[in-house]
């Protein structure tokens, strides 16, 4: 393969470029990234950056780019994919023999209010720095969506002593991701730290002219706010693939080996949807570790198309830091899965940190594990999930 183009210059893109060189690709690499920054790490944005503890200088994922020998197109986005080239937004054509799609995802917006001053979504470094600046002025904060981003922002606000209301349409936070019982534990954690958490409520309108003054809820109440952070999920960045022959369905559709419907194109990271053989379901995983691991698998597939097809079966892993609590999860949870306690929150003794360990299962098999402040346990369960251990044996 003479020339590989990598589209997207964040974690999955960087790990793809690194894997290309590590696995011996000595041809050219063209690397296109829409942001003007070199690849940086996103998880600290909703943690250390919004707590006001870290500036941007600690976030960059790599220092030395010379040895990677890439042709950089930073601050440019891919507008269209053709047979043998990618057309950039300035009309330039970047040719390739093989292509890695690593364009990630972008936040969903509320239908109105997005142009008002003080209304933000959080995905990029620029978003985080703008929100942090606003926080310094001691605003009243409203957050729409009690997903991971919303909850982490809420935790940062409380740590800084700001008043914060979180509005969530479901009955508990994170219900889709971790189930109702554990979602309730997360709700308790935030309420105990002074978050005004309103579940089962939806936002019907954003109030304000020029700048935001509050949000209106479906029960008629008005939450006053000078800072509104919208965390209602993301949408994979695939518009540029329209008409390219690469199939898209809530993400770039890949086979079990990260190859798309075009043999010269692979995908990795938040943008990729593939058939996960271990869980026998179609998945798209929006977590750090997946982006890092999948880039490796996708690049292997691209460089060795004739090699034995190895499915990408890494067990999903994520963490989230809220206050002094580290939540970690391995595997998958789907509504309806069975849940069993290994350690209940009320078993915790000694210090006041919440601790819990819970397992998920499907058809008697262990498919997921979630812990609060129990890192050693999680490591073991992640391995057990990969080994298809039964739920009974895991306990």
């Amino acid at each position: 393969m003479k020339r590989v183009a990598v589209i997207g210059a964040s974690l999955a893109g960087l790990r793809s470029v690194e894997a290309l060189r590590r696995l011996g690709h000595d041809g050219e690499i063209a690397w296109v990234g829409a942001e003007k920054h070199l690849p940086y790490d996103r998880p600290p944005l909703s943690k250390q950056v919004l707590e006001g503890r870290w500036g941007s200088e600690r976030l960059f994922l790599r220092q030395n780019y010379d040895e990677l020998e890439v042709e950089f197109h930073l601050g440019r986005s891919a507008a269209r994919l053709d047979e043998r080239f990618v057309e950039l937004d300035d009309g330039r054509r970047v040719e390739f023999d093989g292509l890695v799609v690593a364009t990630g995802a972008s936040p969903r917006q509320l239908p109105d209010g997005r142009d008002l001053e003080g209304v933000f979504t959080l995905r990029s470094l620029d978003d985080a720095l703008a929100i942090e600046k606003k926080m310094q002025r001691g605003p009243r904060v409203a957050i729409v969506g009690a997903g991971f981003i919303g909850l982490e922002v809420a935790a940062c606000c409380r740590t800084r002593g700001l008043e914060v209301t979180v509005i969530e349409s479901a009955a508990v936070p994170l219900g889709q991701a971790i189930g109702e019982v554990l979602g309730q534990c997360v709700a308790d954690l935030h309420r105990s730290r002074g978050v005004d958490l309103r579940c089962g409520r939806t936002v019907t309108g954003v109030e304000g002219t020029e700048r935001v003054s509050g949000v209106r809820l479906d029960d008629g109440s008005l939450i006053a706010a000078d800072l509104l952070v919208v965390g209602i999920g993301v949408k994979p960045n695939t518009d540029w693939l329209d008409g390219s022959g690469v199939d898209v369905d809530d993400g770039v559709v890949c086979d079990a080996t990260c190859q798309t419907s075009r043999p010269d194109v692979v995908a990795a990271g938040d943008v990729a949807r593939w058939h996960h053989e271990l869980f026998d379901e179609s998945v798209r995983v929006e977590h750090w570790t997946n982006a890092a691991e999948q880039a490796d698998a996708a690049v292997r597939r691209l460089l060795e198309p004739e090699a034995e097809k190895k499915p990408f079966v890494s067990v999903p892993y994520f963490w989230s830091d809220q206050y002094d609590t580290k939540m970690q999860m391995a595997g998958r949870y789907r509504p309806g899965d069975e849940m069993r306690w290994v350690e209940r929150p009320e078993d915790a003794s000694g210090d006041d940190k919440p601790r819990l360990v819970a397992l998920f299962g499907r058809g008697g098999r262990l498919t997921g594990a979630l812990t609060l402040n129990r890192p050693a346990k999680l490591v073991r369960y992640r391995r057990a999930i990969a080994e298809r251990v039964s739920l009974d044996d895991a306990l």
Binding site: R15, E18, T289, A292, Q328, R374, P375, A376
Partner: protein, 63 residues
Amino acid sequence: MKIVVDFDSCQSHGLCTQAAPEVFEIRDDGFLYILQETPGEELRAKVEKAVRECPTTAIKLEE
């Protein structure tokens, strides 16, 4: 090959222990322990994987 972990950055994610269990271990106290500070060359690929998978880039290799 010498392993150096920045314990201020390490957040006990434990991904290194999965990439290279011969070298890294998280014990029940929740802390990371290094089992061999200068592992043999046969472990290099695993250790390099651990370096890449650590979400806080806490692990460094000194030759």
